[in-house]
Every structure is written in C-alpha cells, then in structure tokens.
Amino acid sequence: MDFAFAEEQRAIAEVVSSLLTDQCTGADLRRLMDSGQTHDAARWNALMELGLSGILVPEDKGGLGLSETDFVLVARACGHAALPEPLVEQAGVVIPLLAALDHPRAEEWLQKALAGEAVIALAHPVNPFVCGAENADALLLVQDGQLHLVARNQVQMDTHASIDPFRRLSTVTATLTAETVVAEASVCAPLLAQTLERATVFAAAQCLGLAERSVELAVAYANERTQFGKPIGTYQAVKHLLATAQVKIEFARPVIYAAAAEIGANNALSRARASHAKLAAVEAASLAARTSIQVHGAMGYSWEVDVHFLLKRGLALGGSWGDETFHRARVLACALSSPAADSGFAFTASKDTLAHAA
C-alpha cells in the first residue's frame, strides 16, 4: 500500500505547471478571450515540445508507455491554469484511444497527433456535443456502434458558443462509409468505455486544480483587502467559508488519485471510483468558485478577477463526460451491488484471503 506519487511523476507535472505559470496567466487568458480565439498557437506549440502527447501511448507505438497515475497531476495543473488548449483531451483521452486502434489510418493520424501536427476531436456518445471540433484536423465519430475517422473537411458542423470563452461546442455530421471505419462495433464498445473512464478521471483532476486555484485567489484577496480597518481574512465568517471549501478539496483529492491508479482494474468498483472522483471534484470546484466569488465581493462578480474563468470551466466540465445524473447512478449501483459482502472497504483483500475465510 503506497499512496505517494513518485518523484518523476511530480517532476512531469512540475514542468507543465511552471510553463503554465509563465504562459497561461490571467492576462494571457484575457488577451485570448479578447481575440475571440479559443486556442493560442504559441502556447500549444510550447506544450507539444514538452513531448507529453504520447504519455499514455505504448512505447512500440511511439509513446512514453506511462500510466494514468503519471498524467493525473498534469491534468490537475491544466485545471489550475484554466488552460484553453486541449492537452488533457489529446494526451489523456483521444491519443490513447487512437493508439488502441489497429488500423493504418488510425496509425497515420496517431503519428501526426504525437508529433503535434494534428489535433483529433472525439464525438463520444456520452457527450451531446464535440468540444473543439472546429480546431480539429480530424474527427472520430461513432455510428451504428462502429468508430469512424474522418478529416475535418469531410464533416459538417453546427457550432455553439459555450459560457466558457475557450470552448466551442459542435454537433457534427458526415457521410460515413465502410472506408471511414477504423474499428468494428465489437472492438469499439470497450475502447469507448475505457476512454470514458480516462476522460472522467482527468476531468476530475482538472476540477481539482480549478478548486485549488479558486481558494488560492480568495485567500490572497482576503489577506490583502481591508474593511473596517483590518483584512477581511481576519473575520471568522470569511475564514469559515474558505475552510469549508478546503475540506471539500481535501476529500476529493485522494479519490481522484485512487481513481487514476485503479483505472486499469476495469471493474464495478473502479468505475464507481471514477464517477465518485468526478462528482467530488466538480462539487469542490463549484463550491470553491462560488466561495471565491463571494469573498471577492463585487470584484468577484466582474471580469476584473480571474475567478470567472474557473467557475465557467468547472461548469463546463461538470456536464461533460457524464453528468451528475450519469455518475450518481453508477455510484449507487455499486453501493447497492452487494452490501452484505466486502464491498464496503476501500481496497479489497486478495480473493484467496476472502475465499479462505468463507
């Protein structure tokens, strides 16, 4: 039993985090928002140069061959910065799916994606919209259970604005044929299921980062802003709001990390864990953002401070990759599955132990 991250795992996240501290400040986000764009090409190139696009891709496919535990802190760092570009979606979700496909066209696009030369968007059946389809070079679409891969110029899309200035949501249609298929239904279903688990856990990790950032901004403001002759952070009413948000964060964090570590188990408990991670993280991000707005007072309700970026990203991620209803149902199913047995514990003993005891 060891809950700690390895030094290298922390180091990878630290590299991303320090790049984003430099290149993804509140001022950078504002500049991008004012430009009407959702992505910044220079920052995306800098991120791609870190060589993380293949972090979850096996080495024989040209990746780093690492695991979800190696990426979860990176996703948290991206959330913390409210990063507009799709590092998490590409490196954590779409590229591992591409790498799992056994098809020459998938291989071709995989190599482009790994090289940072292409962005591929996924129309996963759990999401009614495709986020970032406009900026994608190719799209993965599901029809009749089969997975298709088509170039951007072969699809039509109807695109909506999101409350998050850096997300655009599209419904995509295309003429799909036998030639566009990259995975048959029997192969596609388990891959899409696996992809959903990864996307769920990494959305949760981003929400953890959002929540932490919201509290950091509020604490900094409360310690500085003076009313009635002293910093508002000295008042218990303000302290208790932030302490309550911090408790939510503290009890989302280990769930997210465990969910990342257990994803490979692919059983009812690991799926409930992923759902739990997302529910807890979304709730923490939401409460922390609302609390941060409250602590900032009227400033918090303006675009003057960065909190609104965090609020909006949390709202967007809350409904993506399985909404609250979807994930609560998965948790309840697990909680009710076998209440008479050993399902109550966080970790299971080996089957031999339990069989012996029975």
Binding site: M1, F3, A4, V215, K239, P254, P339, D342
Partner: protein, 383 residues
C-alpha cells in the same frame, strides 16, 4: 502509487477475521454508558487483551502488537465488519496511552500501561470546565503542592465515561496566579479517592455518557504528574493531536455504517422516493473518501511525514458525514424512526443519529477546527 495489500497484510486480515468470528459476543451488549453495559464492555476489553488484540497499535514493549498504520486500518475494517462492541477503553488506547508513552516516566508507564491494556483500569478525560470549553486555556482548577501531594480543587465537566471509569487524566493549574497556557500541568487521578465526587449528566439519549467531577481537597501524589510541572498545555496539545488525527475515528466505522445504510435502503426501496438513493450513494462516497484520505495519510506518516493542521479537515469531514448518513437512515425509516428502541435485530439508527450530533462539538468544535484550517492550512491572519 500501489493500492493493494501485501500477502502478509492479507494473512493478518484473515487472522483477525477468524479470531473475531470466534470471540465477538453473539448478542449486542447493552450501552457502555449503563452500569451493566460498562461491566460487559470491560469484560470484552479483557477478552481482547487475552487475544493480544486490545492495544494493537501500541509497541510490543508496552503489551501491544506494534502494528503499523496500514495494519491498524485492516484491523479496524475487520473489527467493524464483525460487529464487535464499541471500545469503552478508547480514551486509554488512543489518547492517554500514546501520551504516557511520550511523556511518562518509566515508573508511570510500568504502573499504568499494563492495567490500561488489560481493561482493569478504564480512563476518563477531565479537561473541560464550565468556563473552559473551546477556550481550554481558561482552566481554573487548582493543584496546590502539599509535601509529595497536590491538593486539587475545582469543577470538571463533560467527562466521557467518567461515571463508571476508574481513573482520569486531569488538567490543572499548578502555578498559583498563572494565566492562560502557562502554569498548567496534567495529573493522573484515581476517581475513587476522597474529595472526588462524580455526578452523571444525562446525555441527549438519556444515558449518563458523561459526568461532572467536583474536586474538594482531593490529594493526588506528585508522582502522578505527567510531564514537567507547567508543561500541561504542551502535553494536552499532543494528546489532542492524537484525538483529532487518525486514531479517534477509523474509516471502517463509516464504511460499515454506509454498508448497513445500503442494506436498509434495499429493504425499504419499494416505498421510497428514489431521490433518497442519492443520499445513500453520497453516504457510500463519503465513507470511501474518508477511507482513502486516511489510507493516504497513513502512507505519508509511515514514510516519515507528520500530521498537522490538516487533521482539522478530517474532524469536520467525519462529523458532518456521520450526521448526514444517519439522517438518511431516519428518512428511510420514516414513521419507524422515532421508536426509542429499534425493532428486533435492527440497527440502532436513532441512537447513532443522536450520538452523531455530538461529533461537531467534541474533540474541538467544528468552528474551532475551521479557524485552524483557515489560519494554519490556508495562511489567513489571526483575528
């Protein structure tokens, strides 16, 4: 990150499971806050001690098993899974025992630890006073030196288990005229000596779970002072760290409660608003989150880390989770919830609910804990 047990840990789990199967009383014991229940729980402590399952986290030198924290968590999971009785000895195991090991003299350890481990001497905590609750440094009980004794005068209150306990660890002011945190000492006092009057205080559930203690010229040997004279506050804060941190509330307790809640929900599901399922799922998640957090902390401590102000987050989380979980159970029970005694073989959800209401108060109120989080975790200014 490696979230699985070793074969040795699995083997230990099995050993605990089998021992408990053979020894846990078949019928539920009466509450340990009744005279008969207290005696039966003391007997259970003796049974545990004989099997060397009493003080599992204590070092072997003091009669324990020297379990590490992960093994302790496994033990607790099996303990609650088996439905074993509550620990009347809790103050000794988790609070005074570790404090004695850290601050006690060799003679004190030899005198008190074995009797604590065997269940022969059950301990109460006597810190709070009518005017010193959250503001513990306002303690006014005096201890005046008279030869090789202290003479104690004062009024202690909210002492859990004190009605039937044998000994108490008492926070007193040994320096006349001293203020606040200075001049305090901790003494170990026999509750049966002359000058000590223990009055039961009925708790919200009607049982005498705590007491007030009147001290009128009660004579306690100076040799029973724990730590140096004037070091009482320091010793107490070490004890409070044990209390708020890992040891007082093991995750298995809530996981077992969440498991029972799932079973209760399934039993009544046909007549329930499906929305209650949401609360059942939330209870399961809360219990899991708490367990994962404690496992995570245990790993950190075993790797040489320390537990600090974040223990205050634990205290808020478990106390609020406990209330929510029991509220959900009462919602499921509906018209049956108000029955003062549970129906045959049913879990005592009502008793659990009432007890859960004490959670945000004892071991440092949740308001105090939120101040600690704000000031020491988040770095906000003191008021």
């Amino acid at each position: 990150m490696q979230l699985s047990f070793t074969p040795e840990q699995d083997a230990f789990r099995l050993e605990v499971r089998q021992w408990l199967q053979n020894h846990v009383p078949q019928t539920r014991l009466p509450s340990f806050d009744t005279e008969a229940g207290f005696a039966l729980h003391r007997e259970w402590e003796r049974t545990l001690a004989k099997g060397n399952f009493g003080m599992v986290t204590w070092p072997k030198d003091y009669g324990g098993r020297g379990l590490n924290l992960i093994e302790w968590l496994i033990f607790e999971e099996e303990y609650y899974r088996a439905g074993a009785p509550g620990r009347v000895n809790q103050n000794g195991i988790f609070l005074l025992g570790p404090t004695l090991m850290e601050f006690g003299t060799d003679a004190q350890k030899a005198r008190f630890l074995p009797a604590m481990a065997s269940g022969d001497e059950i301990w109460a905590q006597a810190w709070s006073e009518p005017q010193a609750g959250s503001d513990l440094a306002a303690v006014a009980t005096t201890a005046v030196r008279d030869g090789d004794h202290y003479v104690l005068n004062g009024h202690k209150i909210w002492s859990s288990r004190a009605v039937f306990a044998d000994w108490a660890f008492v926070l007193v002011r040994t320096e006349a005229g001293s203020q606040r945190h200075k001049g305090l000492s901790l003494v170990l006092m026999d509750l049966k000596i002359e000058g000590v009057t223990v009055n039961p205080i009925p708790q919200i559930d009607g049982e005498a779970g705590f007491a007030e203690i009147f001290l009128e010229n009660a004579r306690v040997p100076v040799a029973n002072r724990l730590g140096d004279e004037g070091q009482g506050w320091h010793v107490c804060m070490a004890t409070a760290g044990f209390e708020r941190g890992l040891m007082l509330r093991s995750p298995a307790r809530y996981q077992e409660a969440a498991r029972k809640l799932s079973a209760l929900y399934l039993e009544h599901q046909d007549r329930l608003d499906p929305a209650i399922g949401r609360d059942v799922a939330q209870a399961w998640m809360n219990a899991q989150a708490y367990a994962l957090s404690i496992y995570s902390t245990a790993c950190r401590l075993q790797a040489g880390g320390s537990i600090g102000a974040e223990a205050s987050c634990n205290k808020i989380f478990w106390s609020e989770m406990d209330i929510a979980l029991h509220q959900t159970a009462l919602a499921i029970l509906g018209p049956y919830a108000e029955l003062a005694e549970p129906m045959a073989n049913n879990h005592d959800w009502l008793g659990g609910y009432l007890f859960s209401l004490a959670g945000p108060i004892y071991a440092g109120s949740n308001e105090i804990q939120r101040n600690i989080i704000a000031e020491r975790v988040l770095g906000m200014p003191r008021g």
